[in-house]
Amino acid sequence: MADAPVTTERRSTAPLFSWAKPIVFTLGSVAVTMLGLLFVTFIIGRVMPIDPVLAVLGERASQEAYDATYKAMGLDQPLLVQFFYYLTDVLRGDFGMSILNARPVSEDIARVFPATLELATIGIIIGVVLGVPLGVVAAVKRGSWIDQIARVVALVGYSMPIFWLGLMGLLVFYGILGWVGGPGRLDIFYEDIVPARTGMILVDSAIAGDWSVFRNAFSHIVLPASLLGYYSLAYISRMTRSFMLEQLSAEYVTTARVKGMSEWAVIWVHVFKNIRVQLITVIALSYANLLEGSVLTEIIFSWPGIGSYITTSLLSADMNAVLGGTVVVGLVFIVLNVFSDLLYRVFDPRSK
């Protein structure tokens, strides 16, 4: 799948629950969405033509071993019964064991999700820090060369296959120039030095005060994060520009200008204040998209994140792992949505 947060612009779930309606409704619909999410994943897992039993036993299993494992995995139970068992486990915080590596799925997710979180966070920071000013300037200087450049930068970002760009980036910046670290999160000999507290190596090494590890981790993350950052930059700068233009033509801007306010004051004090809510929604969406895990980026950079975890598990029919991963990603998406909804209500004067 494309990594760019382009194809599906996810709009906030705002229209469905208004401020007046009780929080119960919000929670209720979150729960219903989660339940649906689980159910659909569960069904997909069951209709997959990949045999989970073979996934466990391997190519040369005898038929007796096959039958025994089939039963042991509870596959002889009716579908709804299987789903019910699974659901009760999930509610207790138990995602079950990975059928492939015999570890609790929750443990695996605790390992892979921070890797994605770290990458996505740096990516979105790059995207916002560069994308928002670029969008603002492009809108203010509409039609100028800077606007054209911003447009090209954004459209190129939309249009570039990320796996190609990733491989080329790796070749140039790591292979030839040696400016950044190679695939993986750390050089081998820096591994397991700092205790894993958050699972995010930059944070862990900072807590431990081990700057050599921090530096190494940074040199590894900078390239994939810049790539992801570029893709969110493309989207964020376009949206910023569009929001800005809408506001710039509004009456209050003209009034402010007439009153003799400086152009910069008009832009940053008045206009920007008005678009920040929309902007937060857009940023939250991009962030959610990055947190889904960018499979292709993760593959190319040997980044052990949630995207490649779900994909690998899916292709080897490790359905507990897929379900667990999906629930976490879905939850993140829903939480971000509710969060941007909340901000909407706090900041947007019209909703009060």
Binding site: M1, A2, P161, L167, M168, E246, V322, I334
Partner: protein
């Protein structure tokens, strides 16, 4: 000459004489705005070119896209008889790119038909009916939105088997919810407008209202969305091809070509780069056109 002049004047009139006249006039004005946008026209030109290439592929391709020559593999750019070199099995890359354009257009056309229409259907029904129908449909839309896109598409392809048609279906499956949202939002604004009430008073049924009056009004914002999404769709199809779940070999689908060529990226970079450039060019063309169309069709964005 004068005929053209009068035609132009007729189209640009401020006082249209009929509904059809008005429609044509507004279309023509839109076209003029679009034409003044160099970048959009550039995008359109690329797409027209792509269409022509796909149409005349057998005439344009110097070789059979399947013809292998193991003794003549991984030839560089500009090698004798192979302008863009050859791939791992000694097949002419240019010929494969030319035939691959057909597949790209096929994917684009199918997704562009399926996803927005499905979204339109769900969105307008949900918005117009309101109440429980709305809640249920929007919950379903939410579920699909909250679903990790890649898992959905991968799972779908894995379940139905790899192949171009299934890849298209999988991408459509992940692409419809945003259209449903847009269509619903549009419907909500239109539904309460006076003119719909008037039609309702005249005795029109809900089906007629949705199909005859609401759909046409949603179309323009959907077209803009679809055009802008096209790049994402091409890239998604290429991504599935890259993971081995899209078109099956020996199909010259561009994403699959990148996947095949990426093994040689360090020493024979052109094998993956040429299809990469092709994807890039077409995606860019769609984006440029979409950007221009938005200026024309979607005045809300203030790009006028």
């Amino acid at each position: 000459m004068s005929d053209v002049q009068t035609m132009r004047a007729w189209l640009l009139t401020d006082t249209p004489s009929s509904r059809r006249h008005a429609k044509l006039a507004s279309l023509y004005k839109g076209w003029l705005t679009l034409r003044s946008n160099t970048m959009a026209m550039f995008g359109l030109a690329i797409l027209v070119f792509l269409g022509l290439v796909a149409l005349f592929a057998p005439l344009l391709a110097p070789y059979d896209w399947m013809a292998q020559d193991l003794g003549n593999r991984l030839q560089p750019l500009g090698a004798e008889g192979h302008l863009l070199g050859t791939d791992s099995l000694g097949r002419d890359i240019l010929s494969r790119l030319i035939y691959g354009s057909r597949i790209t257009l096929y994917i684009v056309a199918l997704v562009a038909l399926i996803a927005p229409i499905a979204g339109l259907l769900v969105g307008t029904v949900s918005g117009y009916a309101g109440g429980w129908v709305d809640v249920v449909l929007m919950r379903i839309t939410d579920i699909f939105l909250a679903f990790p896109r890649l898992v959905l598409a991968l799972a779908f392809v894995a379940a139905l088997g790899a192949g171009i048609e299934n890849a298209v279906l999988a991408i459509s499956l992940t692409a419809w919810p945003p259209y449903a949202r847009i269509a619903r939002a549009e419907t909500l604004t239109i539904r309460s407008s006076d003119y719909i009430s008037a039609i309702r008073l005249q005795g029109a049924g809900p089906l007629r209202i949705i199909m005859k009056h609401i759909w046409p009004l949603c179309i323009s914002s959907l077209i803009v969305r679809v055009t802008l999404d096209m790049a994402g769709i091409i890239l998604a199809a290429a991504g599935l091809g890259f993971l081995g779940l899209g078109a099956q070999p020996p199909s010259p689908e561009w994403g699959a070509m990148i996947a095949e060529g990426r093994r040689f990226i360090l020493d024979h970079w052109w094998v993956a780069t040429m299809p990469g450039l092709a994807i890039f060019t077409v995606s860019l063309a769609f984006n440029l056109l979409g950007d221009g169309l938005r200026d024309v069709l979607d005045p809300k964005d203030g790009n006028q």
